[in-house]
């Protein structure tokens, strides 16, 4: 590397120290300036940081949910209510309902009645205060091909004028509230755990956002707040609980909690209440007279991904005769004659 135009010569170099020339000084100075400017530019999003984005001292020093005394909890609920009011301009009612004794929740879903209208999805969004933009929804409704249980070929984005479509059935999926939840096992900070009534909850103040639980969940039931969650004014549900639908912050996980704030007050989850066909059933499985107990005892039920050993509390069932027997079934091309060894059965 030749330097044909080096300035100064030996005298200058001698006076200013070895290797330092005017040109070199300018070069390095310009590079340093640019470097500083670039760093400042990279840090520029900090300008948009508002005071409310900074965690308060109380929040930083907050204990783990299970270690809080009742007084601690009251202080935390008060702090959350104030934060929500500052952020959304609505004074919420923040509670922390305890699990009811002798209750274990089970969910049942009748796939032969579900028409895929997605009303459960939107009722859930209205109830649970997830981010609207970017969009977070706990329930996914899969359009499945009739005769197949292969979720790999399902479709989330169906949009016909009317549902149900004659060649499809619909499989809503949400958190299965597993009895052996893999998401709880992987959490490095114990920010998520299973409550005595079977609901797996998250302490949003304790979550570090590592997303291990999202990766561990075989049902894709957990959602991550990649960006600051936004909820339009007027759409916030002011009835909140610490472990369920209080507004989340950026960088934490969230999930379906069976509408914990409703069900621990004896009410049904929002998705159950809104389902127009009554495909969704919910109740206490320890109560021998409950709807879900009847379904588990009398109906043909199955769970998703039984082989992964998560023991879900979400059971899919179907009736002796489906609700859509009056519909024409999609024409099926005549099958090629084949050897007797296969028995003509479709393998999947």
């Amino acid at each position: 590397m030749s330097k044909p135009y080096e300035l100064g010569g030996g005298d200058v170099a001698d006076r200013q120290g070895p290797g330092l020339t005017r040109r070199g000084f300018l070069r390095k100075g310009a590079a340093a300036m640019a470097g500083v400017t670039a760093v400042a530019g990279a840090l520029s999003p900090l300008r948009e940081l508002k005071r409310r984005d900074l965690p308060t001292l109380e929040r930083l020093l907050q204990k783990h949910y299970k270690e809080m005394t009742p007084d601690d909890k009251q202080a935390v609920l008060k702090r959350i209510a104030e934060e929500v009011e500052r952020r959304f301009g609505v004074r919420p009612t923040v509670t922390d309902p305890p699990p009811l004794p002798g209750v274990e929740y089970v969910y049942a879903l009748n796939v032969s009645r579900c028409v895929g209208c997605r009303k459960c999805v939107h009722a859930c969004v209205r109830e649970n205060n997830p981010s609207r933009q970017p969009e977070i929804q706990y329930i996914r409704v899969l359009k499945m091909q009739k005769g197949s249980i292969d979720v790999e070929t399902s479709d989330h984005h169906y949009d016909p004028p009317l549902v149900p479509e004659h060649d499809s059935y619909y499989l809503p999926v949400q958190c299965h509230q597993c009895a052996k939840p893999p998401c709880v096992k992987v959490c490095p900070v114990e920010a998520t755990w299973q409550e005595p009534d079977g609901i797996t909850v998250i302490d949003y103040d304790w979550c570090i956002g590592c997303r291990y639980c999202e990766a561990a969940c075989p049902y894709w039931a957990r959602r991550f707040n990649f960006a600051e969650p936004t909820i339009p004014r007027g759409e916030l549900n002011p009835q909140m609980a610490y472990l369920s639908n209080r507004p989340r912050m950026r960088g934490v996980m969230e999930k379906c909690t069976f509408c914990l704030h409703r069900v621990r007050a004896g009410r049904l989850p929002a998705c159950v209440e809104v389902c127009p066909t009554g495909s969704r059933k919910f109740g206490n499985v320890l109560d021998p007279d409950s709807e879900v107990r009847y379904i588990l005892e009398q109906k043909r039920v199955y769970v998703l991904k039984e082989e992964v050993g998560t023991l879900p509390r979400m059971f899919y069932y179907f009736d002796e005769r489906g609700s859509r027997y009056h519909e024409p079934i999609a024409p099926v091309r005549p099958r090629e004659p084949e050897g007797p060894s296969e028995g003509g059965g479709q393998r999947s």
């Binding site: 135009y5 070069r27 310009a30 590079a31 300036m33 640019a34 470097g35 400017t37 670039a38 400042a40 530019g41 990279a42 520029s44 009811l100 049942a108 009645r113 028409v115 997605r118 009303k119 999805v121 939107h122 009722a123 969004v125 609207r132 933009q133 970017p134 969009e135 996914r140 091909q145 790999e152 070929t153 984005h157 949009d159 009317l162 549902v163 339009p232 007050a265 004896g266 009410r267 049904l268 209440e273 809104v274 066909t277 009554g278 059933k281 206490n284 409950s290 709807e291 009847y294 379904i295 009736d319 999609a330 024409p331 099926v332 091309r333 084949e338 059965g345 479709q346 393998r347 999947s348």
Partner: protein, 238 residues
Amino acid sequence: MARVKPSDPPREPGPLPGQRMERLRPVLVPLVLFVVAGVLGSGLWQFESPLGPRRAAPPWASDPRTVYQPKLRPQITIAGYTYRCSDCHDLFPSPAETTRPLTQHREIVLRHGINTRCFNCHHRTNRDALVDDWGREIPYDQPQLLCAKCHGPVYRDWLHGSHGRTGGYWDTTRGPQLRPRCVACHDPHVPPFPPIPPAPGPRTLRMGDQSHPPQPEQTDPLRFHLKTPRGGPRPGDE
């Protein structure tokens, strides 16, 4: 910055392209950094979601009301006046039951399978009541007893709560449980649950391109090609 000063003795008539690059080189790094800083600082380059703006869900998407709101009373409203069924039917006896075209109640469409006779469900003499299998009266507010005449398994499931909607409280010690009756979801004259428009689907990049639902061969080509020759075409292939 990299211009040659006049006092510098030129070694060659003009710098070769490679040498020009050589002279620009020290400026390049600061220049790039300056540009990066400018772009980052200006806020011009912001993330823009390819999903576009949010579509708010319509209010009916979270409306928990039933499809129908039946009155559960033997009433009919004509030109703003409400009558009991017997107001007319006591005066004008109905003709014998045939499949002739209707002269009254022509707005009623009857598509209830093989059940094509009015008096299968309506009481022959007391028009303010429905009828059971022995000719006894069933009040209008107990339609499930009428439906149970034919739909036994469904009635059994409804009684136990596995068929039909449930609202209100799961814990009946804390509040009332709502169990809408058959006619809240089924029009008794056209009983299949009516097709309804779906609420808006998800708008997130995590579930792939929304305009093109995944085809079987895209999601798992190995599985698709293994399955096709053995199982034949699948239901829905056309």
